[in-house]
């Protein structure tokens, strides 16, 4: 057990080194930083609180650190996207690019390899996510002289979201032949399948609390601001109506994401153990 834990640390260390050597890591980092700088400019330059207010409907949105924080942390979703790109080829590439011929004949359990890779992808994403939250915190301090306590809950849900996204990407990576296929499949789940189900359920008044992307939206629901008043008004009659009409419960969402992470990671380990290098 102890020996296997040592091997887990070794796998994580070298997988992390691999991630840090990839251009996609730095690409994702630059995108998150630019997106946040852009958001600061848009929020202040366009005076979004006033733009979102609908006095005719009695909706007056007042600028606050909490509202600003919602817009800022929404930009960290790029970090979550990065997780998909880190994890999509984590397992599949061992088979697709034949690196498994060198790695697998070593006396290390496949479960150790999968968990080690998962942890490395998580840590790489966490670096980008942390940079996003640090920029948010600095901007809040600079503009509002304070940081809402809700940012901690938001960070916790972001971390759970990363775990969940990585789990789903690992599931596809251990199931599908290619890393690109696994990446696309994960993105389709988050950007197409889940939103369609979510939208359909929302129209009929059912809260899609079990969907990963809905649960992920809880990163913005820890500030005590009701989504539906802000975004529901903004998109009235628009194509996205129905998607923003409910506010996910942060606690439920946190556990939903962790369950996704755990179940998909376990299935990924099982699939990888069974997978043959043909």
């Amino acid at each position: 057990m102890n020996l296997e834990f040592e091997k887990l640390k070794i796998v994580s260390k070298y997988e992390l080194l691999k991630q840090f050597r990839r251009k996609r890591f730095y690409g994702a980092l630059v995108i998150v930083i630019l997106a946040q700088i852009l958001m600061i400019g848009l929020y202040k330059g366009l005076d979004l609180p006033t733009a979102l207010s609908k006095p005719g409907l009695g909706i007056i949105i007042v600028d606050s650190p909490e509202l600003f924080a919602i817009f800022m942390v929404s930009m960290t979703s790029f970090a979550v996207l990065a997780a998909v790109f880190f994890a999509g080829d984590a397992i599949a590439s061992e088979f697709e690019h034949k690196t498994g011929y060198v790695l697998f004949p070593n006396p290390v359990k496949r479960s150790t390899l999968v968990i080690g890779k998962y942890l490395a992808c998580f840590l790489a994403t966490l670096v980008i996510l942390s940079v996003g939250y640090v920029i948010s915190a600095i901007a809040l301090l600079g503009l509002y002289q304070g940081i809402p306590v809700g940012i901690l809950g938001s960070l916790a849900i972001s971390i759970a979201l990363v775990f969940g996204v990585l789990g789903i990407a690992f599931f596809f990576s251990s199931l599908l032949k290619g890393g690109m296929g696994a990446t696309i499949a994960t993105l389709i789940i988050f950007m197409v399948v889940s939103p369609i189900i979510r939208s359909s359920l929302s129209y009929t008044g059912h809260e899609p609390w079990f969907l990963p992307d809905y649960a992920g939206d809880a990163v913005a629901s820890t500030y005590g601001i009701d989504f539906t008043k802000i975004f529901g008004g903004m998109i009235s009659g628009g194509g996205m109506q129905g998607m923003m009409t409910m506010t996910p419960n942060p606690v439920v969402s946190f556990f939903v994401l962790l369950i996704y992470a755990l179940v998909t990671l376990l299935v990924s380990i099982w699939l990888t153990k069974r997978r043959e290098m043909i």
């Binding site: 050597r21 011929y101 060198v102 004949p105 006396p107 290098m277």
Partner: protein, 241 residues
């Protein structure tokens, strides 16, 4: 346990295709055995099962008496392997790659560092130790594959076409390394190159369509069939693709 490798009634189906048909084989400690046969004979499949990369449809295999199917990690602890045309992580250097694999095998510190230098020198990649593998040619990767197989100084080497992709000088150097290694190791390797087999091994196991046709010493086969190893091969595999 006198046998380093023991294959018992091994069969392997790929869907409906029978790649290995009840193959049985024993390789004694410090023996050097070449697995030869036509394309698609099942050589690589057998080696992959021995390295835990494939599961057999039936039968089993042992390394140093340890069942590879049931105790893969323990069985592979004393094996160094090259299977098919291995690839390496392009973002790592040979030094980092060997350090990674060595640590997974329980090596560490000065012992690992000096062994990495030793094997890199042996395969003549010492000047490339800190260059990312993405810049490497096929032959350089094949040299690195041998380095990782020899890194932990395993008593058993399982090698699949170890000279594949090497230039003539690389082939000669690889054979010299294997000739040196066979003095104290069990070498079980698959090859199409019979000239290479004669230089490196004492015995051959000739398989075709997943079945063992003959398993004997090269000297005995030559005497029995009154021809070269190539002649024996052609005679026994007549009609094969």
């Amino acid at each position: 346990m006198r046998e380093s490798i023991m294959i018992e009634n091994l069969s392997k189906y790929y869907n409906n295709f029978l790649a290995l048909d009840n193959l049985s084989l024993k390789v004694k400690r410090n023996e050097d055995v070449a697995l030869v046969g036509p394309n698609g004979a099942g050589k690589t499949t057998a080696l992959k099962i021995l390295c835990g990369l494939l599961r057999p449809s039936s039968g089993t295999a042992y390394i140093n008496g340890i069942n590879v199917i049931e105790e893969r990690e323990r069985a592979l602890s004393e094996v160094g392997a090259i299977v098919e045309t291995p690839e390496f992580y392009p973002f790592l250097t040979p030094d980092e790659t060997l350090s990674y694999l060595g640590r997974l095998r329980g090596m560490d510190g000065h012992e690992l560092k000096s062994r990495i230098n030793e094997v890199l020198k042996l395969i003549k990649l010492d000047e490339w130790a800190d260059v990312r593998i993405e810049k490497f040619s096929r032959g350089m990767k094949q040299r690195l594959a041998l380095a990782q197989a020899m890194l932990h100084d395993p008593p058993i080497l399982i090698l699949d076409e170890p000279t594949l992709g090497l230039d003539p000088r690389g082939m000669v150097e690889m054979r010299e390394i294997l000739k040196e290694a066979r003095k104290e190791k069990t070498v079980f390797f698959a090859s199409h190159m019979l000239a290479e087999v004669v230089q490196v091994c004492d015995k051959v196991a000739l398989i075709d369509r997943g079945r063992l046709l003959v398993y004997d010493s090269i000297a005995h086969l030559k005497r029995k069939y009154r021809t070269s190893l190539e002649g024996v091969y052609l005679k026994l595999t007549e009609g094969a693709i």
